[in-house]
């Protein structure tokens, strides 16, 4: 018996390798080096991320698959690589001081961040359901641990455990869905070939395929925090360390949407009507509940959690639109969302001061007078999240709703616009508090550290630049979604 070893090219997974090696290195160094000489982990992670970004840039423009068709090499994946690398970089920047305050500036933190990033990339690039599942779990398990990082903090523990139980539960559903698809297609696990196989076997296996589709929807719906699978979001976002909340809100969402979009666009053309209808309902419910409940929140992390649910709803609108502009808008919006949301969480960390003491939205009162620049930055993020021009959030929403209208979902677009109107209320409330209310008490100084300042500058400038000059990013996105011929 001989087995033909498939040819492969290590450089096509270069970014993953870089990050994995860096993470392993950090783990080893952390375990072996004496205490007190561990301050260089953030820098090491940043270098690794920069190298990975560079490698991605070199890969840009390739197309096809590698590793026996397991891995997609296409711009769609690469764009998401860049988005998650950006998200992780920003997270590393906002983490250090925050962790030091909690006495948790640990090597494993950075190692797990990098592992989670690799998992996200895997999800974006996988052409095989095993790969997809592995990516999902590498990402999820790392984040379960990260969410429970503050072992001494009961809320952190509880958040992590809730996330784990719910997450494991939903991945079981996802897996069951994959199993059904595997059965329905007569033993095929390649995402790129699902559509054809489904069509071949259609009359016989329709119920099986539909069940698989439903289970996949639940699994992905959970990961992107779509209503009605959103219930973990506020709890976990509130309990997890703030830097991890930021990471979760952007990275997990981006990766999950990458995989979600790829599967939906590529694998289910035969059931377009069904999944459009379902996602239509999910999108409306997600936007509406996210925005309306966010109004009632007084904890800023919880508010941002509901806002993140609402944004998942907007992204679902783009998914439902399922045309080229829709796919482009998903990519563009996730980039914009990464910038503006991490920025907002950076401000939350700064204002939270020592060990997250001040997370109530009323703690933002008077910030505009004490720290005008910080308040201005927060206003930019809030405007962007609310979708007020000329920020990236506006352009993203414009693309999304245009895509919906283009696809004929006028009502969906109308509901979306109404929702973004509602969202203006709670985002602007923060701005109003900062500028129009005197501070209730002196909450103490805010420690500006280089990392956080750098992150805020990057996110702030990025939010505006991506909004003012969307053309370049748009072109990149168009180049990335060319791979979906069905659109």
């Amino acid at each position: 018996m001989t087995i033909a070893i498939p040819t492969f090219n290590l450089s096509s997974i270069g970014p993953w390798l870089t990050l994995t090696v860096a993470a392993i290195l950090i783990l080893l160094l952390d375990a072996l080096s004496p205490k007190g000489r561990k301050a260089y982990f953030p820098q090491l992670s940043l270098i690794a991320l920069a190298v990975a970004a560079l490698q991605t840039w070199w890969l840009w423009g390739q197309s096809g698959t590698d590793f026996a068709r397991m891995v997609f090499l296409d711009n769609f994946a690469f764009y998401f690589y860049l988005i998650v690398i950006l998200g992780t970089t920003l997270t590393v920047l906002i983490s250090r001081h925050y962790l030091e305050e909690w006495g948790k500036n640990l090597g494993e933190y950075y190692a797990l961040l990098l592992f989670a990033t690799v998992g996200m990339m895997l999800m974006a690039a996988s052409n095989h359901l095993i790969m997809l599942f592995l990516g999902l779990e590498i990402m999820s398990i790392a984040i379960y641990v990260l969410a429970g990082l503050f072992r001494e903090d009961a809320r952190s523990n509880e958040a992590a455990l809730k996330y784990l139980v719910l997450g494991a539960f939903s991945s079981a559903f996802l897996l069951f869905g994959m199993a059904f698809l595997y059965g329905a297609t007569g033993g095929n696990l390649f995402i790129g070939e699902l559509a054809g196989k489904i069509k071949e076997a259609l009359p016989l296996t329709k119920p099986l395929t539909l069940l698989g589709l439903a289970l996949l929807l639940v699994g992905f719906g959970f990961k992107v925090a779509s209503v009605p699978f959103h219930m973990w979001t506020p709890d976990v976002y509130e309990g997890a360390p703030t830097s991890i909340t930021a990471f979760m809100s952007v990275g997990v969402k981006a990766a999950a949407f990458a995989a979600f979009a790829r599967i939906m666009f590529a694998a289910f053309p035969a059931f377009v009507l069904e999944w459009h209808m379902l996602l239509w309902v999910l999108a409306v419910a997600t936007m509406t509940i996210g925005n309306v409940v966010a109004i009632a929140q007084t904890n800023i992390k919880r508010m941002l959690a509901y806002s993140s649910i609402a944004h998942a709803g907007y992204l679902l609108v783009a998914l439902v639109a399922a045309n080229q502009l829709g796919a482009v808008s998903i990519i563009y919006y996730l980039l914009a969302y990464t910038l503006m949301n991490v920025g907002a969480f950076g401000v939350v960390i700064l204002v939270g001061r020592k060990k997250d003491s001040y997370l109530n939205i009323y703690d933002y009162a008077g910030l505009g007078f004490q720290h005008p620049v910080l308040a201005a930055a927060m206003s930019v993020f809030m405007f962007a999240l609310a979708g007020i021009p000329p920020t990236a959030g506006f352009v993203g929403k414009f693309y999304i709703f245009s895509a919906a209208v283009q696809a004929g979902y006028i009502w969906l677009a109308i509901i979306g616009v109404m929702n973004s109107l509602v969202s203006v209320f709670y985002y602007l409330r923060i701005t109003v508090l900062m500028y129009m209310r005197p501070a209730e008490a002196d909450l103490g100084p805010i420690a500006f550290t280089p990392g956080l300042v750098a992150a805020l500058i990057i996110t702030c400038a990025g939010t505006i630049l991506v909004g003012v000059f969307p053309g370049w990013f748009y072109d990149l996105a168009v180049a990335s979604v060319k791979i979906f011929p069905a659109l």
Binding site: K162, V165, L166, F169, S170, F173, P207, L210, L211, L213, A214, L215, L217, V218, F222, P228, F229, M231, W232, D235, E274, L278, T288, I289, V292, V293, I295, A296, L325, V328, F369, P372, V373, A376, I388, P389, P390, V395, F398, Y399, F401, S402, V405, Q406, A413, I414, V417, M418, L421, V424, F425, L428, V432, Y435, M436, R437, P470, G471, Y474, V478
Partner: protein, 637 residues
């Protein structure tokens, strides 16, 4: 590009400077009033000079000057950003620059000593930025952005005295209500760009004129955009924010709610006039709504006692009047001149009226013009004269500017086949004259005893709280009044030059004496009625409307529009959505679990299963939804 176009440079400069003034003050100098004032006023003066220079240099312009770059959003969607300088925008550019400059000047006196002085000027700069940007923008998206910025800065300015609850509420109301209309505007834009592929104002207009739009596309787009106009220009039924918006400092009211912000809506209508006039349906809707607005606000103005409220309602009614003029012109194939001319004159005299009101308020520390009158309002000579001039203009009396522009609008209405509109327009003119002169006569002929006896008399003695301001009006406040009064007197005679400037030619038509007589008659009739009710020696000091208490109450309650919206907000928005969901969060989940916990312990596994905390409820919910999805997929269709 070899050499940069000087006009482009000028326009950009004015915007960039305003923005940097806002940024500088907000970030660095808001604690230091003098410095902030210097920055803001310098920038404003530069903008003024730029505006007038551009205006003069380009006044002989034949073709509109388009200086724009494409902001590429995607292959299909290109959004132009830049400046479209044509007569309409040039005239508005000058008006906005002038009025905001005057108001900055006036505010030095009015806001002196306010703790938020620096912040105030920052907001004024932001406002100038957004309004100037709006006026000269070449594309609708840029216009929309500025439109929202105008909304934002007006929100900031109206809620400027945020420690006053009503002020911050009013700011919020203005913002939310206008956003309501903006949804429509935005949808209209999306509709246009998706079906037509451009947002360039000039090409939209020329395409509309060459009948490139199919009607099914045109009418909905026009109506959607008009939603935005309704919000911004406070047209029925979303006019409710404007009277409340008087909570802001009075110069702000003058700036926002007379000449610029609310005029932005009508300006947009003018801007897209060729586009709008291609859809008779849309124009009829506009005409109807504007007419309702005119009558509604005039009647409310008859019973208001707050001087700023009266001016606010008069603003709404005049905006309705402009809208009527434009719509009528659109329906009969006329020109945009009448409505826009009224916009111009109105900007002048309404700013004047508000600033005068500001002087009175500043002086007497009250908004109630009955109290002002009792305290001797007529002794303030300059404002009293100027307010009378403004009122005459508002009422449409020769030779003040309002007369000419109203005349032009009525002429457009005359051209309509259905004379009902003309009749309603005349009725509006009558009511306008009536409520305007109600204020004037009350101020001129005080009756202290009418305002609750001794109170007024006592105030008569002690109204100066030992401050020097009572000796007169500070010059920074007086100068703008005089300048504006001058405009009001002069603008009327500039009708022909302005018409030539706007349309490129003067359309002489034989004076229509029937119309002239009836218009003047209505105005004079209104004044006469006011004289009978409020001015004459034996007048009862109560409006003729008092004779029909039901109707009067209806007007005092502002046609119950506020009630309606309050009900709508409470019941539908809060009640149905927010409450349900937050209630769910706080009560149903907790309460339900508690109830189970306190309930019968022995009722077995089913209940204890519900009791098992949130985690599993969440899980259960997921499973149930999955079941639902499965059923839908398998059984559906």
């Amino acid at each position: 590009m070899g050499s940069v176009n000087p006009f482009f440079l000028g326009c950009t400069l004015s915007l960039v400077l305003s923005l940097s003034a806002f940024g500088l003050i907000m970030i660095f100098t808001w604690r230091r009033p003098k410095l902030s004032l210097a920055i803001s006023l310098t920038v404003s003066t530069i903008c003024l000079i730029i505006a007038w220079l551009t205006f003069i240099k380009l006044s002989a312009l034949k073709e509109p000057l388009i200086l724009s770059v494409d902001w590429m959003m995607s292959d299909q969607i290109r959004v132009p950003f830049g400046f479209l300088l044509d007569p309409t925008s040039l005239l508005m550019f000058v008006i906005v620059a002038t009025i905001s400059w005057l108001i900055q000047l006036y505010s030095i006196g009015y806001m002196a000593g306010d703790s938020g002085f620096g912040r105030y000027y920052a907001f004024l700069s932001l406002f100038a930025l957004s309004m100037l940007g709006l006026v000269i923008s070449s594309g609708l998206l840029q216009l929309y952005i500025c439109w929202e910025l105008v909304g934002l800065s007006s929100y900031l300015l109206i809620g400027f005295w945020y420690e006053k609850f009503s002020a911050s509420e009013a700011g919020k109301k203005a913002f939310v209500v206008t956003r309501f209309g903006d949804i429509g505007f935005f949808m209209g834009l999306a509709f246009l760009v998706l079906n037509f592929g451009t947002l360039d104002i000039h090409s939209i207009n020329s395409a509309a004129m060459s009948k490139a739009f199919p009607a099914w596309l045109l009418t909905p787009a026009a109506l959607l955009i008009f939603c935005g106009i309704m919000g911004k220009s406070a047209q029925f039924p979303i006019h409710v924010w404007l009277p409340d918006a008087m909570e802001g400092p009075t110069p702000v009211s003058a700036l926002l709610h007379s000449a610029t912000m609310v005029a932005a809506g009508m300006y947009l209508l003018t801007r897209l006039f060729p586009f709008f006039s291609c859809s008779p349906t849309a124009m009829t809707v506009i005409l109807t709504i504007c007419t309702i607005t005119l009558l509604l606000s005039s009647t409310i103005g008859m019973v208001a006692t707050d001087i700023k409220q009266v001016w606010a309602y008069s603003t709404i009614s005049q905006l309705g009047f402009m809208g009527m003029g434009l719509a009528a012109a659109g329906l009969t194939g006329g020109y945009l001149f009448a409505g826009f001319y009224h916009l111009t004159t109105h900007a002048g005299f309404k700013a004047l009226l508000f600033l005068c009101a500001g002087v009175f308020i500043h002086h007497f520390h009250t908004n109630d013009f009955f109290v002002m009158s009792a305290k001797g309002g007529r002794r303030l000579l300059i404002p009293m004269v100027t307010v009378t001039i403004g009122a005459l203009a508002l009422a449409g009396i020769f030779p003040f500017s309002g007369f000419f522009s109203k005349e032009a609008i009525l002429a457009e209405l005359w051209n309509l086949p259905n004379k009902m509109w003309l009749g309603l327009g005349l009725l509006g003119a009558f009511l306008t004259a009536y409520y305007t002169f109600r204020v004037i006569f009350v101020l001129l002929f005080p009756r202290p005893q009418a305002v609750g006896g001794g109170h007024g008399v006592e105030e008569e003695h002690g109204h100066g709280h030992g401050q020097e301001e009572e000796h007169g009006v500070p010059w920074v406040m007086a100068v703008p009044l005089i300048i504006l009064a001058g405009f009001t007197c002069v603008l009327g005679f500039l009708q022909a030059p302005i018409q030539k400037f706007l349309l490129g030619e003067v359309h002489h038509h034989a004076p229509n004496y029937v119309l002239l007589v009836s218009a003047v008659g209505c105005a004079l009739g209104g004044i006469g009625m006011a004289w009978l009710d409020w001015g004459a020696k034996g007048a009862k000091w109560e409006g003729f409307i008092r004779k029909v208490p039901v109707v009067e109450n209806f007007f005092i309650q502002k046609w119950y529009m506020d009630h309606f919206w309050r009900w709508f907000l409470n019941t539908v928005i809060y009640g149905l959505f927010s409450r349900t969901f937050t209630y769910n969060d706080r009560r149903v989940v907790d309460g339900g679990v508690d109830a189970v916990a306190f309930g019968t312990i022995g009722s077995g596994r089913l209940l204890s299963f519900i009791q098992t905390a949130f985690l599993q409820l969440n899980l259960l919910f997921m499973v149930l939804v999955l079941g639902g999805i499965g059923i839908y997929l398998l059984m559906g269709r």
